[in-house]
């Protein structure tokens, strides 16, 4: 019971946190690019856009920061046996993340918010780039920690603790570089899809040929290109990750396809109705695709769940080493499906506004609808992607070294239940307020003056931004 509740609590606080993380990483970068364009070209339109999307960014970063604090302590609260086992290795990237990334992000965001009239434009521009760099560094170090759980390297086990033998091995973990690329471009694509949807929605509502409309169209074109390029990188890095997974976590690869028998030239099913284990009722398959994903060869052999289970049981002792197959199977499909749709959507957008015919972005009714609904896609892909990554590693908390069941704290069940219930409640409220504020901020006039802007004139008076 403790284990179940602790897992639900971790899933809740992490999944919720990760709605905001990609937005902060992505929007931070987008706003930095927009502000750079405004600065370099003395372009009023990019300046307006950077302020407008900057407001959305600040709402998201606020929730991202506070939900991140919870995670820093979640390991100690509910996973103390795990913390003792991995602290030597897992703790270091977390501490370094705080020192290198969180300080940078949090200090420079203050400078960016309050420094608009106090710093030179050039220095003010530098602060948003520091914020963006901080968010990206943060992703690197937290993924270093996570990748070690997926594929432990640079360690030896001494007296019931994993101790560090090579920090370079931890930072050079191939899983880390795969997931870092995938996550950061995924975050860029998330922000891109959001900026695209909002820009199209706003451009539709502005008067024809108005300055604001052309600003939003400009943002829409930028977002389409940015999302398209980012999703391509997401796809390519995901492709690399598939082959790494077949080498380091074959069970997860097999679980992604619910492939029970080891096969050569294995197909990839797009959809299954009926039982995943026995004979399904309907299944749509693409021949040889799984072999291509996992091994990059037409008839490559992909190991099946049954074989891997037998091998794992022989190596680690009796027990089930199979994750929850419907969860891994469907989350993998949802992730890949949402990702492919994003490539198509943003590619469509890029094609529509070729030769700078920006009006075509809003001229096509179907594209308008697709862009609006497309804002949901990255959140589906991000969430199901992480569900797949983490659920597919089960029953391990550290792959091959420690089982999840062994990592939990000896805390009263009632305490975990209480905190879980409270986090769910608080996060539902927080999520609702955040969404409401985001919509309100998105509806604001493009030239909306923030607090602070009105008091900025006298330089001796510090501006009241909040």
């Amino acid at each position: 019971m403790q284990l179940l509740l602790a897992r639900w609590e971790f899933a809740t606080v992490t999944v919720f946190h990760f709605f905001f993380v990609p937005l902060t990483i992505g929007l931070g970068f987008v706003v930095a690019v927009m502000q750079t364009l405004a600065y370099r070209r003395h372009d009023a339109s990019w300046d307006r856009l950077s302020r407008y999307f900057g407001r959305l960014f600040l709402i998201e970063i606020a929730v991202g920061v506070v939900t991140g604090i919870v995670l820093e302590f979640q390991f100690g609260l509910n996973w103390s046996a795990y913390s003792v086992f991995v602290g030597n290795i897992f703790g270091a990237p977390l501490a370094i993340e705080a020192l290198l990334a969180f300080f940078m992000e949090s200090t420079f965001i203050g400078l960016w918010i309050f420094g608009r009239d106090r710093l030179s434009p050039r220095l003010h521009l530098a602060t948003i780039w520091m914020v963006s760099l901080g968010t990206i560094l943060s992703a690197f170090f937290i993924l270093a920690a996570n990748s070690w759980m997926q594929h432990p390297v640079g360690y030896k086990v001494v007296a019931g603790q994993a101790v560090l033998t090579s920090f370079w091995a931890v930072l050079g973990n191939p899983m880390l570089w795969g997931s870092f690329t995938h996550t950061v471009f995924g975050a860029f694509a998330t922000a891109g899809a959001l900026v695209l949807g909002i820009s199209i929605w706003r451009a539709m509502r502005e008067d024809d040929n108005s300055e604001h409309r052309s600003s939003f169209l400009q943002a829409g074109r930028f977002a389409a290109i940015f999302t398209f390029v980012s999703t391509l990188f997401v796809g390519m890095s995901g492709d690399v990750q598939g082959r790494l997974m077949e080498v380091y976590q074959p069970m997860k690869m097999a679980a992604a396809e619910a492939l029970y028998k080891t096969s050569s030239g294995a197909p990839f099913s797009l959809l299954t109705i009926g039982n995943l284990k026995q004979k399904p009722v309907v299944q749509i398959r693409v021949p040889h695709l799984l072999s291509l994903i996992a091994t990059l060869s037409w008839n490559g052999q992909v190991q099946g769940i049954n074989n891997i289970q037998a091998a794992e049981a022989a190596k680690h002792g009796p027990g089930s080493y199979v994750p929850v197959i419907p969860l891994t199977y469907w989350s993998f499909r949802a992730m890949v499906g949402a990702g492919v749709l994003m490539i198509l959507l943003s590619g469509w957008g890029v094609w529509l506004c070729r030769r700078k015919q920006l009006n075509r972005l809003v001229g096509n009714r179907w594209f308008r609808r697709a862009a609006l609904w497309g804002m949901v896609l990255p959140f589906i892909a991000n969430t199901t992607g992480w569900v797949f990554t983490e659920a597919g590693r089960q029953p391990w908390i550290v792959y091959g070294l420690m089982k999840t069941a062994k990592g939990v704290s000896s805390v009263p069940t009632a305490d975990i239940a209480l905190t879980l219930a409270a986090f769910v409640l608080v996060y539902v409220v927080l999520g609702g307020i955040d969404a409401w504020l985001l919509v309100r901020a998105a509806r604001l006039d493009l030239d909306h003056a923030d607090h602070g802007d009105e008091t900025a004139e006298g330089s001796e008076t510090a501006s009241l931004v909040y």
Partner: protein, 364 residues
């Protein structure tokens, strides 16, 4: 027998420094939020209070995350036992930090009095709770908590709330409120500054009494010193010095030197944390029931390799962090004044209710 100069001890001291830095910096954020209802006469005043910490509160909070992360990396057993043991106490702090963290950004995003009051309250409660809980928790740490032979604490939240810990919690509340009032008088001007200074005098007296009481109580109730520990006198001397620094800050406040008063309250916080860590040494989790059940630095520490990596990273990057943090404080060094826009309409407005809400402020 722990050596004073080895990496374990160094990291124990560094984590002490991180906590001390956290309380020095976020201490005044908490304090500002706690005294805002007492000193702010109108909406403009409340905004000035909020904006006085606006550019820096987020960076200040990272000291906590760094302390947490460094504890995880350098002393995994400490991180695991402390936070799973002090479970609900930490949970309360986390909820509080969520509420106050979003209040800064959310408050101004919707323009009704009720909305703003809600987030003012979130900021107040979200600062009050950690201000008390952190003090109580660290008093528990120096005083020792009953530990099972495996070093686990099973006493729950109630077990942490014994009288001496409550005294410690109130002491930290008063000290942070004092620190925050002094910070406000350093950062504001006019009537608001006068009221902040009055609040500082009151909180200063409370803090002097409560910090002094807690130091004496912990010393008298003292658990027996662990073999290899620093003799009982050094922590006591540091504790007494902390109390003296609080008292000195009161005197400086009366003499009207805001900068020196802020240095004194900050020094008091640093000295108090030095006393806490000196008193815990050589343990990270001292037991009140049986000395042998406590967890020592050596038992909790990570292996040499991890500590070497951490030391190198810290040596390279801490100077950068300190430099840009210092630069931020330099950029935002000005006192905040009532904006001219608010001065005409709200200025008259401010003078009238000021008499009603706060006792008539003497002119600065």
């Amino acid at each position: 027998m722990p050596r004073f100069a080895d990496l374990n001890t160094t990291w124990f001291a560094l984590i002490g420094l991180l906590w001390a830095g956290y309380f020095f910096l976020e201490g005044f954020d908490f304090g500002v939020a706690i005294v805002t209802p007492l000193v702010a006469a109108d909406e403009t005043d409340r905004r000035i209070c909020l904006n006085s910490v606006g550019p820096v509160w987020d960076g200040n909070e990272v000291w906590l995350l760094t302390a947490g992360g460094a504890t995880f990396a350098a002393f995994p057993l400490w991180y695991a036992r402390l936070f799973s043991g002090f479970y609900l106490a930490l949970f309360l702090v986390l909820l509080a930090l969520i509420a106050r963290g979003v209040s800064f950004e959310f408050r101004g995003k919707f323009d009704t009095p009720r909305w703003r009051r809600t987030w003012d309250w979130a900021n107040f409660a979200g600062s009050l709770v950690p201000a008390i809980v952190w003090g109580a928790a660290f008093t528990d740490l120096v005083h020792g908590v009953p530990l099972a032979p495996d070093g686990r604490y099973y006493g729950g939240l109630i077990g942490l709330l014994h009288p001496v810990a409550l005294a410690g919690g109130l002491a930290s509340l008063a000290l942070f409120a004092f620190h925050g009032s002094v910070f406000l008088s350093l950062k504001t001007s006019g009537d608001l500054r006068a009221r902040a200074r009055r609040a500082a005098s009151t909180w200063g007296i409370a803090a002097t009494v409560l910090v002094g009481t807690s130091v004496a109580w912990v010393a008298l109730a003292g658990r027996p010193a662990t073999p290899g520990g620093i003799s009982g006198t050094l922590p006591l001397v540091l504790g007494v010095l902390a109390s003296v620094a609080v008292a000195a800050a009161c005197v400086v406040v009366w003499s009207g030197r805001d900068g020196w008063a802020f240095i004194s309250t900050g020094l008091a916080i640093l000295l108090a944390m030095a006393a806490v860590f000196a008193r815990m040494f050589p343990e990270v989790l001292p037991a009140s029931n049986r000395a042998a059940n406590g967890i020592t630095i050596g038992a909790a520490a990570s292996q040499h390799n991890t500590l070497v990596v951490m030391t190198i990273v810290a040596a390279i990057f801490v100077p950068f962090v300190l430099a840009y943090t210092a630069w931020t404080y330099w950029v935002f060094r000005q006192r905040l004044t009532r904006p001219p826009a608010a001065g005409t309409s709200a200025g008259a407005n401010a003078a009238a209710p000021a008499k009603g809400i706060a006792p008539a402020p003497g002119s600065a």
